[in-house]
């Protein structure tokens, strides 16, 4: 397992090196600069010159790359154009995004699994569940987020329309982010249930006189838990991307909003910091997910080579 992780880590580091270099090239060729954003119309030529030096705009691409690489090795990512340490700014935003993703993940799991199982328990509602979830899968996250905002915040006044003051404020954005993923979890649960219900052990359990809900909870759900967890971990990565949209709509100062700010303010250190940290997070999730898959394969007696 260790050589496998080491190989993956090596390719991940090589890719990030390429990506950072590519971002620096694009940033240099982009119109405008961080100095212009900071100085605005008030700054004269001399002040702009000074700001250009301060923000690293005068550096060559390789020079800038060496500085960024040095910061990456020290794991501090340098400073933002406003002079704050990137690592603190990103981690502060990351915490909010993680809470949001946590809410979304929990909601998706509860929503998808409960609907998936209930659909097979009460088959008359199954086709409606299927249609609703297909419609959910067809809707972009921003439309779901906007509809929830209009209905529950602006019309019914049940939730705050934006900002973050307590954990309670994450509920509506969490639902908005998790609903689409919940539809994916529903499809997964439904397919799994369909497959398992046709297996012999279910028939045997029924023949022994187990009630429907006992068969579901005692046998099928138990069998489903590991692959479901693996599938859910795969979905977690998408929350970090979807968070960018939800954070913008609900004015949450998370990673997505920070990324937009970094792009609009030409803050290359902040941009690199966000992309590296988010990618590292997803890299860890991928490794955990593959470990879970390996454990599941072990249960099935199918030991794949890593």
């Amino acid at each position: 397992m260790f050589p496998y992780i080491a190989r993956k880590l090596l390719s991940f580091v090589i890719l990030l090196t390429f990506l950072i270099f590519f971002i620096l090239i694009l940033q240099k060729s982009r119109e405008g600069s961080a100095a212009l954003i900071l100085g605005g119309q008030r700054a004269d030529a001399k002040e702009l010159q000074l700001l250009e030096e301060l923000t690293g705009n005068k550096l060559s691409i390789t020079g800038h790359f060496v500085i960024v690489a040095k910061h990456l090795v020290q794991f501090d990512f340098g400073n933002t154009i406003s002079g704050q340490p990137v690592i603190f700014v990103v981690l502060n935003a990351f915490l909010k995004t993680i809470v949001l993703a946590g809410f979304a993940g929990a909601f998706a799991l509860i929503y998808g699994v409960s609907l998936g199982i209930y659909g097979h328990y009460n088959t008359s509602v199954q086709k409606y569940f299927e249609k609703i979830n297909y419609a959910m899968m067809s809707a972009p996250i921003f439309i779901i987020a906007l509809v929830l905002l209009w209905v529950f915040s602006l019309w019914l006044n049940w939730f705050m329309p934006g900002g973050v003051d307590s954990v309670f404020w994450f509920i509506l954005p969490g639902i908005a982010l998790g609903l689409k993923s919940g539809a994916h979890v529903y499809i997964f649960t439904d397919e799994y249930m369909r497959r398992e219900l046709s297996k012999k052990y279910v028939l045997t359990a029924k023949a022994y006189g187990y009630k429907k809900h006992r068969v579901f909870s005692k046998f099928i759900f138990k069998n489903m838990s590991l692959p479901l967890f693996s599938f859910w971990l795969l979905e977690l990565g998408s929350y970090l991307a979807g968070a960018a949209i939800v954070e913008m709509i609900y004015s949450i100062s998370g990673v997505g909003n920070l990324l937009l700010r970094a792009l609009l303010r030409y803050d290359v250190n902040l941009l690199i910091g966000i992309l590296v940290l988010v990618s590292a997070m997803i890299f860890i999730i991928t490794i955990v997910q593959e470990l879970v898959d390996r454990v599941y394969a072990g249960f099935l007696g199918n030991h794949d080579e890593f």
Binding site: K8, A135, W150, G242, L259, S279
Partner: protein, 289 residues
């Protein structure tokens, strides 16, 4: 001679797929909607056979139907060409993976075998998948600069890795087919095997892959448009129309609800198409196996 009965019910999705864009295309023939400040915010009305507006007017006084038709085509074309670029990149990546001999470098051992290209391309695409495609697309879009072609490049690059990983998996399966082994044993070179045996399989894979990720591409394009990446200076995509009018929902719902419904219908059609091709593809794979 026998005729196979064609059921209308089975072909409804296909008919819808052709008819829906065609109807919107007809509305494009009337020309790009013009700004008429005096008609701004006007709600849908029907005063007569010639005097009507089915979807009302935008805050700038543009006809909403025309705006949606142009926006629909802009969004769909970006998604379709973006998918095309992603597939082209992954096709080239597959060729490199099959033909190139690169050192398989490991911190534990140094090997030099014939599948080095495959090994590196596989690792590289796996690593690429750890970067969230939407965040990558957003970053690239802002760094390169807005525009129709930028959006296509952004979609192509950010979605390349998923296609590449999928195609590499398929190549791994094809490599084990007995007739490939036989071709190798008879002295068939890498290029010969790729061109003569793999290509026909890969082309059908590419066709399937196009529809497999099309719903995702459409959602990414609309999301990028919503986040402020414009795919055209003169025509607003569907995501941009919603982003511009999202605060007007309670006063002028006609400027936001129809474009939202249009996006959902478009993605739903692509999902139906995906499912239809997935069934056909599974059948084809059974025949191949």
């Amino acid at each position: 001679m026998s005729f196979k009965a064609v059921k209308l019910k089975d072909n409804i999705p296909i008919i819808f797929v052709i008819a829906f864009p065609a109807v919107l295309g007809i509305f494009m023939l009337f020309g790009r909607p013009q700004i008429h400040p005096q008609l701004a915010y006007q709600k849908p009305y029907i005063h007569g056979i010639t005097d009507f507006s089915l979807f009302g007017y935008s805050p700038l006084g543009e006809d909403m139907l025309g705006l949606m038709a142009w926006g629909y085509w802009q969004t769909v074309l970006v998604a379709v060409f973006g998918r095309g670029l992603a597939l082209l990149l992954s096709f080239l990546g597959l060729f490199i993976a099959w033909t190139f001999v690169l050192p398989r470098l490991s911190i534990f051992k140094f090997q030099f075998k014939s599948h080095f290209g495959f090994f590196w391309m596989s690792r590289f695409s796996e690593a690429f998948m750890t970067i969230p495609s939407l965040l990558l697309a957003l970053s690239l879009g802002y760094l390169i600069g807005e525009g129709f072609y930028t959006m296509i490049i952004v979609i192509g690059v950010s979605e390349w890795a998923f296609n590449q990983k999928w195609l590499l998996g398929r190549l791994n399966e094809y490599k084990r087919f007995p007739f490939i082994e036989a071709s190798k044993a008879m002295g068939g070179g890498k290029l010969h095997i790729y061109g003569r045996h793999f290509l026909s399989f890969i082309l059908s894979d590419l066709f399937f892959l196009f529809f497999l990720y099309l719903p995702g591409s459409l959602l990414t394009v609309t999301a990028l448009e919503f986040l402020g990446l414009s795919s055209g200076s003169e025509i607003a995509g569907l995501g941009s129309i919603i982003a511009l009018n999202k605060d007007l929902i309670f006063f002028y719902p006609h400027v936001i609800l129809p474009p939202s419904a249009l996006i959902i219908i478009t993605v739903f059609i692509s999902l139906v198409l995906k499912n239809k091709f997935m069934t056909k593809f599974t059948d084809l794979n059974k025949v191949r196996a």
